[in-house]
Amino acid sequence: MSAPATSTAVRFQTVSRRFGAGEALVRAVDEVSFDIFDGEFFTMLGPSGSGKTTCLRMVAGFDQPTSGTIFLHGHDVSQLPPYERDVNTVFQDYALFPHMTVGENVGYGLMIKRVARAEREQRIKEALELVQLVGLDKRRPSQLSGGQRQRVALARALINRPRVLLLDEPLGALDLKLRQQVQVELKAIQRRLGITFVYVTHDQEEALTMSDRIAVFNRGRIEQIGPPEELYEQPATAFVAGFIGVSNLLSGEAAQAVSGSTHTITIRPEKISLSAPSIVPSANDAHISTRGRVADKIYLGMYSRYVVALDHGGELTVVEQNRGSGAPMPHPVFKPGDEVALTWSREHMREVL
């Protein structure tokens, strides 16, 4: 995937953003430190109010940290106004200028920098080609669809050749199919241009699809940073386990029954196998088995989701593909009320904080 750690595009150094005081003190961002590398697609993921958007805005310059420093390519930018930073933003509501045409919108940054007309026109053309909006330069934003406006916002930002592009939940207003299509295109553009993308979203699937690395935010702090696989397979905390994908959490006595200790453990639903209670796989150190009763089954086309109440307490969600009865390696199909055995590999089970 990416080469060994290259130069740092953005660095947060114990950055905090506090609002209010005393009892009304809100720590939107709480002593956060991390690096974003050149050329990577970096996503800040988390629920609303977790601080991810505030961090983005501080990089852009629309907000200032209450303490700590932000570096852009090695320079301390905490005091720099937005118009002096070499970053550009794609806004959630696109923020297109209604009284200008698409072409004028896209070329706005160049016009401000007094780029010569000929070069400006050429670059506007190229930018529109990049986002596949050729020929629409004379239209007004009000005449465009949501998806088209989003592309104009992207072109308007990219035309300035920023070293870092910030995207604030840009796909929120699009419908599912369009969103998935644009996700692929965005990733392709990023790869092609080699620009650092800093992306903010609350949609974990979106994050998993596009990112090189993800930072999971919760209440102003980062719970974990890493590539998508790492976050999914080796979540560090219960929050990350729950926010990315479906998590199964067992704690206390229920955990004791399967792992031997009362620490909270987590295991992904697709890592658990269901079998008839009579077929208990070999009890060796590599595998863990336990018993339970199916409480609910939801059919989801590609797979079925079982909720199983364990005999020793707790509940586990299990996902099995619907391979069908004639398949080469079938597994049994269960109904609510059936007794089942659950088995999984020890290395798929993790302790979380």
């Binding site: 310059g61 629309f62 118009y83 550009n88 923020a95 209604p98 009284h99 706005y108 300035n160």
Partner: protein, 261 residues
């Protein structure tokens, strides 16, 4: 709502007729042949009085003065009103609500209050009455029309557009010039025209601050005591209706259009 519709319509219609009757009468009388020009029905119609009126030097002087006063007062109102609206929109400061109240006072309190207050103060400072004293008085009550219009428009500006402009490299002044000002344009125009009409038509405050000068309303007031000049006054009245009505209609159109977009 099932209030008896016909009664409602009739009542509404009567109020409307009441509103328009005098204007129609004036229109009619401007063409009246008779000199005394009081009687109804008017004996005949003519355009002759238009000719007479337009040759009256004192009319033209008054008209010119009113125009100049209104122009300058409007310009001052545009600047002051926009500045105030920008301050109130952008900042939260101590006494913010009082600003709106303060700007409203000149039209909420009776005109004689402004008038005599100004007159007493000018007398105290021994400043003679002149063109500028009239303008100063007018500007106090013209500011609020611009302020209200511009503030309402500011509130409909989207924050992210301003941020986007700065993000793309424009500083505050450039953002104001390229992004904010175009969006304010129609509000400025509408507010400015309302201010112009207010100033052009004003008589109460003007009476106190004018000294020897005569604006058009003051001139008309003085004419009302001279019956023989009545036909001329009729014509002037007719022209004034046209002159103030048209900009108002236009201003209204402008605010409607931008409300829709």
């Amino acid at each position: 709502m099932s209030k008896s519709l016909p009664i409602l319509r009739a009542a509404a219609g009567m109020t409307l007729a009441f509103l328009f009757l005098p204007l129609v009468i004036i229109l009619l009388y401007a063409f009246n042949t008779e000199e005394a020009a009081f009687t109804f029905p008017p004996p005949g119609l003519t355009l002759q009085w238009f000719g007479v009126a337009l040759q009256r030097q004192d009319f033209w002087n008054a008209f010119g003065l009113s125009l100049r006063v209104a122009a300058i007062a409007t310009a001052a109102a545009l600047v002051l009103g926009t500045l105030a609206a920008a301050a109130v929109y952008r900042f939260n400061f101590f006494g913010k609500e009082t600003i709106s109240f303060l700007l409203l006072l000149p039209i909420a309190l009776p005109g004689i209050v402004s008038g005599i207050a100004l007159r007493a103060s000018l007398g105290l400072a021994d400043i003679p009455f002149s063109f500028w004293t009239i303008v100063i008085g007018h500007a106090t009550f013209c500011v609020v029309t611009v302020y209200n219009n511009v503030l309402a428009r500011f509130r409909r500006l989207s924050r992210s557009q301003i941020e986007a402009s700065m993000d793309l490299g424009a500083n505050g002044i450039q953002t104001f010039r390229y992004i904010i000002l175009p969006e304010l344009a129609t509000a400025l125009l509408a507010g400015g025209m309302l201010a112009f009409a207010l100033s052009f038509d004003e008589i109460i405050v003007t009476t106190f601050t004018a000294g020897q000068e005569q604006t058009l309303p003051i001139w008309m007031f003085s004419q009302l005591t001279r019956p023989r000049q009545r036909p001329v006054t009729n014509v002037v009245a007719f022209l004034v209706i046209l002159l103030t009505a048209l900009p108002i209609l236009w201003a209204h159109r402008l605010t409607q259009k931008s409300n829709e977009s």
